[in-house]
């Protein structure tokens, strides 16, 4: 521990703490701009200058480590003058005219810093050099004229997302934020996660959807989770007058710790499907608007008229799935199918049953992995935040080994990429497992079998065997991701005490397994199909299965080929309009909260099922918690 004095306050902090963080612990506020709690200190803006007794010049507190008996002053005339000078230099470098900026009036950290220093003007004028605006990206606008060169975006892109798209070229006042080697952002390797936008202190990186829609002081914030995939990232949903303004990652989020991907941040704004706004009932061959009471009566009549099959979306909450299950049970449905047909979970479930215990780890366990093995689906597409955990470890020297059967978003990142025929991936991983165990491994022979490089194979095996904490990421949504591959991967991981996660499918994939409703669709002998798709966007291939269904009762948020063929369509809320619990891929029971109020006549899935249950004289308990007591593929965390 180190003792120091900051503004007359004595404080004891851990060795290696920065003066800035020590000051924060002592309750002394030092203004900052380039500093961000989630990022490595950079010392670029010089706003955090402090006086250190004995030092010749003012020192940046964000990068200066504490030392014993240090005496620090943070609020002297000299420092205040220096801050004003620093801010004047930043303001005069580019076009920082406040009246026409989207973040002006509360959201701009540069403007707020000037206010804090009581600045009424800039003592020197700008240099009037115009910089370009890059509006080539579908979601993000990069306005170089507002950039203060703090490099928060560059650090976020590398340290948090691991994508390393952003960087700087040129020097001094000519320094320019570039994507890749100077490509327009829209043509670059940017994956559109928007983390750079979230950390930008000025209006230099803004997103198209939320710009000029409302400032932080004017919006309501709902802390909820993203339902885009099985990860369940914590997000802040910003709304104004029941309108979606912006979605941001929650830095306190227990799964994602602040990072989210384009699916959670931007795609909800790009929703092109039309909403179902009123119940519809087929009369004389045509769908006609009906009241809820009439539509539910027709639906109740249909489901009592013959053999019923039921299919539910794995995007539905535990409450909704349980209610659906109870309705179906009363109608004599034996097996409830899901929209992902158990495909993304069956391998893990089979292995857990075989081994008799939970074998998967939590995502957070992969944070300090010293080697990664990535298998199955392209996680950079379907479960992007999981891929961030892998990619951002690479600069610290963590080797990443990928076994894929086609091109993948990790190709440019992985240290070792093995392209193996789809049918042979399980065999290949078994080979890796055996090579790890053998005293005299025959790399040439093994490499030949799979058509991969023997040197690479040797290095990869050495990387795995040299690791103390192997992280295995099993992408479940892949043709190759069968039980054989998972078994091989799980055994390899268990042999060397590695940690394994499987990505599964939708947000409530695992919850649906626990409720026993994540089964393959079989509607061949059904007279009536009860289909609850919620707001899920289904593939054409999946929807084809329902082409020949005579009587389809569908609960849906959006218009689709399915609703067009249905006998009864009941409008339900989308993910932003309803709350509920979900079991994410690593077994966390997460709660979502409604951020928007639904239109009149659109009900939550639970309420919609309850209406149908009422017509069937059925009481719904919606007690889903018991289902989580059964053993699982991963420990369930309530």
């Amino acid at each position: 521990m180190v003792n120091l004095t900051i503004d007359g306050k004595s404080i004891e902090v851990k060795e290696g703490t920065t003066v800035l963080n020590a000051a924060r612990q002592a309750g002394v506020e030092i203004p900052t701009l380039c500093d961000h709690p989630q990022l490595t200190p950079y010392g670029g803006c010089r706003l955090c200058l402090v006086e250190v007794e004995g030092a010749r010049t003012l020192q940046p507190s964000c990068t200066m480590p504490v030392s014993n008996n240090m005496v620090v002053k943070t609020d002297t005339e000299k420092i205040r003058e220096a801050r004003k000078f620093v801010l004047t230099m930043i303001f005069s470098e580019r076009n920082h005219f406040c009246p026409y900026c989207q973040v002006s009036g509360g959201d701009c950290e540069l403007q707020n810093s000037a206010y804090d220093e009581g600045m009424t003007h800039w003592p020197i004028q700008p240099n009037w050099k115009p910089y370009p605006v890059d509006a080539s990206h579908p979601f993000i606008v990069l306005e170089h004229n507002r950039c203060i060169l703090c490099r928060r975006c560059v650090r976020a892109c590398g340290e948090l997302v691991g994508n390393f798209t952003l960087g700087f070229e040129e020097r001094g006042a000519d320094s320019t934020l570039v994507a890749d080697l100077g490509l327009p952002l829209g043509d670059s390797s940017c994956i559109g996660c928007g983390t750079c936008v979230q950390v930008c202190p000025t209006g230099s990186l803004i997103d198209r959807w939320s710009a000029y829609q409302g400032k932080e002081t004017e919006v309501d914030v709902t802390k909820t989770i993203c339902l885009g995939c099985s990860v369940g990232c914590s997000v802040d949903v910003l709304t104004r007058d029941n309108r979606l303004v912006r979605i941001e990652g929650d830095w306190e989020g227990k799964i994602n710790q602040g990072v989210i991907c384009e699916v959670g941040r931007f795609l909800p704004f790009d929703e092109k499907r039309d909403r179902v706004l009123t119940p519809l009932v087929r009369k004389d061959g045509n769908l006609k608007a009906a009241t809820w009471d009439d539509a539910v009566s027709v639906a109740a009549g249909l489901v009592k008229s013959g053999k019923v099959a039921a299919v539910a979306s794995t995007r539905l909450s535990m409450e909704a799935l349980q209610a659906f299950k109870e309705v179906c049970a009363s109608l004599g449905v034996v097996s409830i199918a899901s929209t992902e047909e158990g495909q993304a979970t069956q391998a893990a479930v089979a292995y857990a049953n075989k081994s008799g215990k939970a074998f998967e780890s939590k995502l957070v366990d992969l944070k300090d992995a010293d080697c990664f093995l990535v298998l199955g689906e392209d996680v950079t597409k379907d479960h992007q935040v999981v891929s961030f955990f892998v990619k951002r470890a690479i600069p610290t020297g963590t080797p990443v080994i990928q076994v894929a059967s086609g091109p993948s978003g990790l190709d440019n990142f992985a240290n070792f990429s093995f392209l193996v025929d789809e049918g042979k991936t399980a065999e290949f991983v078994n080979e890796l497992k055996n090579l790890l165990k053998t005293n005299a491994p025959d790399f040439d022979g093994s490499a030949k079998k799979f058509g991969v490089s023997a040197d690479m194979l040797k290095e990869a095996v050495q990387a795995i065997s040299g690791s103390a904490k192997l992280g295995v990421v099993f992408g479940s949504r892949s043709e190759a991701a069968g039980s054989d591959l998972l078994e091989a991967a799980a055994e390899l991981a268990s042999d060397i005490k590695g940690k394994l996660v499987t990505t599964k499918g939708n947000i409530n994939s695992l919850g649906a397994v626990h409720l026993g409703v994540n089964n393959p669709v079989d509607i061949s002998d059904a007279d009536v199909v009860l289909l609850s798709v919620g707001d899920e966007e289904l593939t054409q291939q999946f929807m084809k299965k329902f082409d020949k269904v005579k009587n389809l009762v569908i609960f849906s948020s959006f218009v689709s080929p399915l609703t067009a063929n249905a006998s009864v369509v009941l409008p339900v809320t989308n993910w932003l309009e309803q709350g509920g619990h979900f079991v994410n891929f690593d077994g966390h029971v997460l709660e979502a909260k409604a951020a928007l109020a639904a239109d009149d006549g659109v009900f939550s899935n639970v309420d919609a099922f309850s209406k149908l249950a009422a017509k069937l004289d059925l009481n719904i308990s919606a007690n889903w918690k018991d289902a989580l007591k059964s053993s699982s593929v991963v420990e369930i965390t309530l």
């Binding site: 005219f97 403007q111 009581g118 003007h121 009037w128």
Partner: protein
């Protein structure tokens, strides 16, 4: 003691700051009890008194030689010179043209605009003021009080004038300090 005198003028701005000043509404009655309003764009007197005024207020940036003259005269005749609004304080919206050359801006304004017919040409009469780069007032003459804002809120203007009327230099902070 005689009431403090106040004069104002507008330069390269939109008159919005003066409109915001008028938005103090009935409080103008309070103000004229405290001060003697002299030359302003909205009163009959057009030049600050030769004998000088206590407070001179300038709205707008300085974008030509005429603005320079007005600013210099106001400076000479005022004990305290106030830069009112973002254009006077920073250059503001007119300063956007500084990102281009003067020739480009003039050509855009007088020749290239869709509403200009083929006879459009850049005025060149020697009687006209000569355009310059747009400058904040303090680049041309020393300024004593800066009131940023686009426009500054009527409440901020009233606060600043009330302080000046009572012989104090206004200190803008918290909600009274806004650059947008």
């Amino acid at each position: 003691m005689a009431k403090p005198t106040v004069a104002s003028d507008w330069l390269a701005g939109c008159a919005g700051c003066h409109m915001s000043f008028l938005d103090i509404d009935e409080r103008i009655a309070q103000l004229v009890e405290l001060v003697d309003l002299r030359a302003t764009p909205i009163t009959d007197l057009k030049h600050p008194d030769k004998e000088g005024v206590t407070v001179g207020i300038l709205e707008g940036g300085i974008n030509n030689t005429y603005n320079e003259e007005v600013a210099k005269q106001m400076r000479e005749r005022s004990q305290i010179l106030v830069a009112l609004g973002d254009c006077a304080v920073f250059g503001g919206v007119p300063a956007m043209r500084n990102f281009f050359t003067l020739e480009e801006s003039l050509r855009r304004a007088y020749v290239e605009t869709p509403s200009t017919d083929a006879s459009g040409k850049i005025p060149s009469s020697p009687e006209l003021a000569v355009p310059t780069r747009v400058r904040a007032v303090h680049e041309v003459v020393p300024v004593d009080v800066f009131i940023p804002g686009c426009p500054p809120d009527a409440d901020i203007i009233f606060f600043a004038l009330a302080e000046l009327a009572q012989g104090r230099i206004p200190k803008l902070e918290n909600k009274n300090l806004m650059w947008n």
